[in-house]
């Protein structure tokens, strides 16, 4: 199009060119515009900067899963958003500010529309789907060097790369979760310790602390490795100290501040897993006697691990691990309500805390998935729908 043609159009349209900027974009459809090769991805905050910095995003999902998009440290649900409008994407098209800022800008700018669409991919930040991680690592828990199992197949063992190709989560979320569940790398594969082996290692350490009369806050790594190195691999001794203590350096030596809550909790799990339920007061007595000297047991150490039944006479306690419950919100609530019909907020919170999305509260979850009522002057929650 020429300037004359443009001006003629303006005249027909009865527009006053004095009221317009001098530059005009003549838009036409490019040769590939209808080919549908381009699509639009709406970017959540932070993702734009990731792409501009040259980093990649990855869409992950099995055929039967809903796709998610992962940056290096976050996971997003994806869905297609339809619009009744037509979206045209145009390279080299300038805003009024850009035209004004550049006085040399060409009078007639021929812009080709690269493509158009009436939908785009929309993202929403979501919880990474990490339950599968524990499930994969539990296929072949590490039972110690003396176990014959490890010599056989490597098919149920997973490297970081393997996990990235199987889990719908970002790399950082996966690595963080591996740390949370106290996984360790053995011969390049991520492993979880078999619980009784883990307790055996912990027992070695607590017995040593006792016989050496060390303070629970100052357990020396070097001496542990020297004394226990003949019983178990050094990496395992260090791993158990890292799992149940906080590492620090004092005067050039590495020490661990043992974590009372975590140790008491592990010992409770060891006791509780042997029966369907226990008499609460009997359990509390045995539990206190079983923990290392100087440690005090408290029921609140067992949040998300065990549940007390205050309605039975005598009161009982049973194992209920949050990590054994479903990952999906509705399924989780269904499962909890089939275990117990009515829950107080205090009791249910440890079992739904992990469902909270960014900035979502437990209260918001309860409002959405449960119905509240009063029972003996206490607020309780039950299912919104009948549980079969």
């Amino acid at each position: 199009r020429s300037r004359a043609e443009v001006d003629a159009t303006l005249q027909t349209a009865k527009l006053n060119s004095a009221e317009l900027l001098p530059a005009v974009h003549c838009l036409s459809f490019g040769p590939q515009a209808s080919a549908g090769e381009c699509c639009l991805l709406q970017l959540e905050p932070g993702l734009c900067a990731e792409l501009e910095a040259g980093r990649s995003l990855i869409i992950r999902g099995e055929k039967d899963e809903k796709a998610v998009l992962c940056s290096k440290d976050k996971t997003y649900d994806m869905k297609i958003a339809d619009t009744s409008n037509m979206l045209l994407f145009i390279p080299g098209c300038k805003t009024p500010e850009e035209l004004n800022a550049d006085p040399a800008s060409c009078n007639i700018i021929h812009s080709q529309i690269a493509g158009f669409s009436n939908n785009y991919w929309e993202l929403r930040r979501c919880r990474p789907k990490l339950k599968k991680l524990r499930k994969l690592l539990m296929e072949d828990p590490y039972e110690g060097p003396s176990s014959q199992k490890d010599q056989t197949s490597t098919c149920s063992k997973y490297t970081t790369e393997d996990l990235l190709s199987l889990i719908q989560a970002s790399e950082e979320e996966i690595l963080h979760q591996l740390q949370v569940i106290d996984a360790c790398k053995i011969e390049g594969y991520w492993r979880i310790l078999e619980f009784s082996y883990e307790m055996k290692l912990l027992d070695h350490v607590t017995q040593l602390i006792d016989s050496e009369s060390w303070s629970l806050n100052k357990v020396p790594l070097r001496t542990c490795l020297e004394e226990l190195g003949s019983l178990e691999p050094r990496e395992m001794i260090e791993h158990i100290l890292l799992s149940y203590g906080r590492k620090y350096v004092d005067d050039g030596e590495v020490y661990f501040e043992m974590c009372e809550d975590k140790i008491c909790r592990a010992i409770a799990q060891m006791l509780l897993q042997n029966a369907v339920k226990f008499n609460l007061s009997e359990f509390q007595e045995v539990w206190q006697q079983s923990v290392p000297e100087g440690m005090t047991t408290r029921l609140d150490q067992l949040k998300g691990l065990a549940l007390v039944d205050k309605s039975s006479r005598p009161e009982t306690i049973f194992l209920l691990k949050v990590e054994d419950l479903p990952e999906d919100n509705q399924e989780r609530f269904n499962s909890l309500f089939s275990i117990r019909e009515k829950w107080t907020e205090v009791d249910i919170t440890p079992y739904i805390q992990d469902l909270c999305a960014e900035k979502q509260t437990v209260g918001a979850l309860l409002t959405k998935y449960a119905r509240s009522s009063m029972l003996n002057g206490v607020k309780v929650y039950n299912s919104r729908r009948p549980i079969s």
């Binding site: 527009l15 005009v24 099995e62 998009l69 409008n85 037509m86 994407f89 145009i90 098209c93 190709s165």
Partner: protein, 118 residues
């Protein structure tokens, strides 16, 4: 599991494109594809209001800075059998869109007794 990589191709800064949002659909004047055909002229008033002349219509719009920018993705050519663990698809980020011209008002028809051939 399917893994599809979205990357920016790494060669320098990403291009900046613009989005133009129109109501309804765009159809070619003659039957046939849209490729190579004209859409219209895009002007701005001195106050920065975009004015689009499409066929016999004038559309007035506004410049909107997008709160959530778009990435324009182009699918890379069909891959031969990918091996397990390798990404099974690849999109390249061709451009980013941070601004759109939104034309929401109903088009004003241009009424003239002699439609000038342009």
């Amino acid at each position: 599991m399917v893994q599809i990589v979205i990357s920016s191709g790494g060669t320098g800064a990403l291009a900046r494109w613009m989005l133009v949002e129109l109501q309804g659909e765009v159809e070619p004047r003659q039957s046939g594809s849209l490729a190579e055909s004209l859409l219209g002229d895009l002007h701005y008033t001195c106050e920065g209001i975009p004015v689009l002349i499409v066929g016999h219509h004038i559309l007035y719009g506004k410049v909107v800075q997008l709160e959530k920018p778009f990435a324009v993705l182009v699918k890379q050519g069909g891959a031969s059998q990918p091996s397990p663990g390798e990404p099974q698809g690849h999109y390249t980020v061709t451009a980013l869109i941070k601004t759109k011209l939104l034309f929401k008002t109903r088009p004003k028809p241009i009424i003239t007794h002699v439609p000038k051939k342009v």
